[in-house]
C-alpha cells in the first residue's frame, strides 16, 4: 500500500531540550512548529532555506507578550523555541521528488521549504527527494522510521517517513555567523 502523503516538517524523536531564540518583524517567511530555522547575522532567527546551514527545528512559539501561538507571521516578532542539538533526530517525509529507495539510507539530502498551514500551524517542510547524495547536504538519512503512517505501515518509497539528523548544523562548524 502506498505511503500516505502528509508533510509535517520535522518532528523531534530525540535530542536535548530546546532553547529560546528571538524572531524580529522583518523576516520574509511565516514560522510554524516543525520548521527548520537559521540564525541571521543580526542574531534573529528566520526559516531556513533549502541548502546551507541551519540552527535547528522549531518546537514552540510565543508572542512578545508570552502567549503561546501556533505561528508567527513574517512581519510578527516573537520568541521561538528551537531544538538546536546538532545530534538530534527527527522524523520527516520524503516529497517524492526523486528516487526513494533503500540506497538513500546513509546519504545526505536538503529539505524543501514551504509556508506552513496558517489554520493548523503545521509545517509543510519535507525532505527533497531530488537531492539524495553522498555529498554535503542539510540532513543525513539515518534510517526508515518504523511506525504506522496514517493507516499504512511506513515503507521505503515515495512519501516515506525518514529518521534524519542535522548534517549542516551551523554548530557543527567552527565558523561563526
Amino acid at each position: 500500500m502506498a505511503n500516505h502523503d502528509n508533510p509535517h516538517g520535522f518532528t523531534k524523536i530525540s535530542g536535548r531540550a530546546p532553547v529560546w531564540y528571538q524572531k524580529d518583524a522583518t523576516s520574509s517567511a511565516l514560522l510554524v512548529v516543525g520548521d527548520p530555522v537559521k540564525v541571521e547575522t543580526d542574531g534573529y532567527v528566520v526559516r531556513a532555506a533549502a541548502g546551507g546551514v541551519f540552527r535547528g527545528v522549531i518546537e514552540a512559539l510565543k508572542s512578545t507578550t508570552g502567549k503561546v501561538v501556533n505561528q508567527l507571521g513574517a512581519a510578527v516578532a516573537g520568541n521561538v523555541s528551537v531544538c538546536d542539538d546538532p545530534d538530534a533526530t527527527y522524523k520527516a517525509q520524503d516529497n517524492a521528488g526523486g528516487t526513494c529507495n533503500q540506497a538513500c539510507v546513509g546519504t545526505n539530502a536538503d529539505f524543501i521549504v514551504a509556508n506552513g498551514d496558517t489554520l493548523t500551524g503545521k509545517s509543510a517542510c519535507e525532505i527533497d527527494g531530488s537531492t539524495y547524495a553522498n555529498t554535503a547536504a542539510q540532513v543525513r538519512i539515518v534510517e526508515l522510521w518504523k511506525g504506522i503512517d496514517g493507516n499504512t505501515i511506513n515503507a521505503v518509497g515515495n512519501h516515506c517517513e525518514w529518521v534524519v539528523t542535522p548534517n549542516e548544523s551551523d554548530l557543527k562548524s567552527t565558523t561563526g555567523i
Binding site: R16, A17, D87, L171, T175
Partner: protein, 196 residues
Amino acid sequence: MDNIDRPNGFTCITPHAKAHWYQADASKTNVIGIGDAVHMETDGYLIMATAGATIRGIVKGVRTATWGYVEDSDGLLLNYLPAATAGWVWVIDDPRARFVIQTDGYTTGTTSVAKSCEGSNFDILATTCDTSTGRSKHEIDADGDSYVADPTLTRQLRVIGLYDAPNNAYSTSSDGQWTRLEVEINEHELKTTSGI
C-alpha cells in the same frame, strides 16, 4: 540598571555528559581555578587555557592525588590548584555543554556587544583566578575582538544568546558592558578529529 562587573568564569547551565578527572603537573605557569577553561598540552597534562588556545573543558573541582584536597605550605585548605602543585582537575568536557560567562569592559572606539553578536565567535580573556575564593576570573574578550568586522573568524567561544537574568542586558554605555552571555565552546578539543 547597568550590568554589574563581577567576573566569575564559566558556569554550566545545561545538563552535560559525565565530567572527567584529568591530571595537571607541577610545571604549570598559572593556577587553575573553579570555572576556568583548561587546555591539554602535548604531555597529556592540563593547564589553564589562554586566549586563542583550544579548550578541553571547564573546571568543576580540584584535588591532589595524595590527600584528595589541596593545601598550601601552612596547611591551609585551598579551592584552587596552585601552579607548582600537581593534582587532578575535574572537568566538564562535554562539547555540547553550555555556559554563562561575562563580557569584559567596553573600550571607547570598539563595538559594544549587542544582539548581533549572537552566533558570532569570541576568544576568552584568561585572567588568573581569585586565590581567596578559588573562583575563575575568565571573561569573554568583547572589546579586544572586532567581531563586527569579521564575525565568522574561528575563535574559542560561540555566543548562543543573552543570559536571561535580572540586571543583565546589552548595553552601549561605557560602564555598562559586563553582559552575561550563554556560550558553547567552539574550539573544543573533542570537536575536532585532530589529536593532541
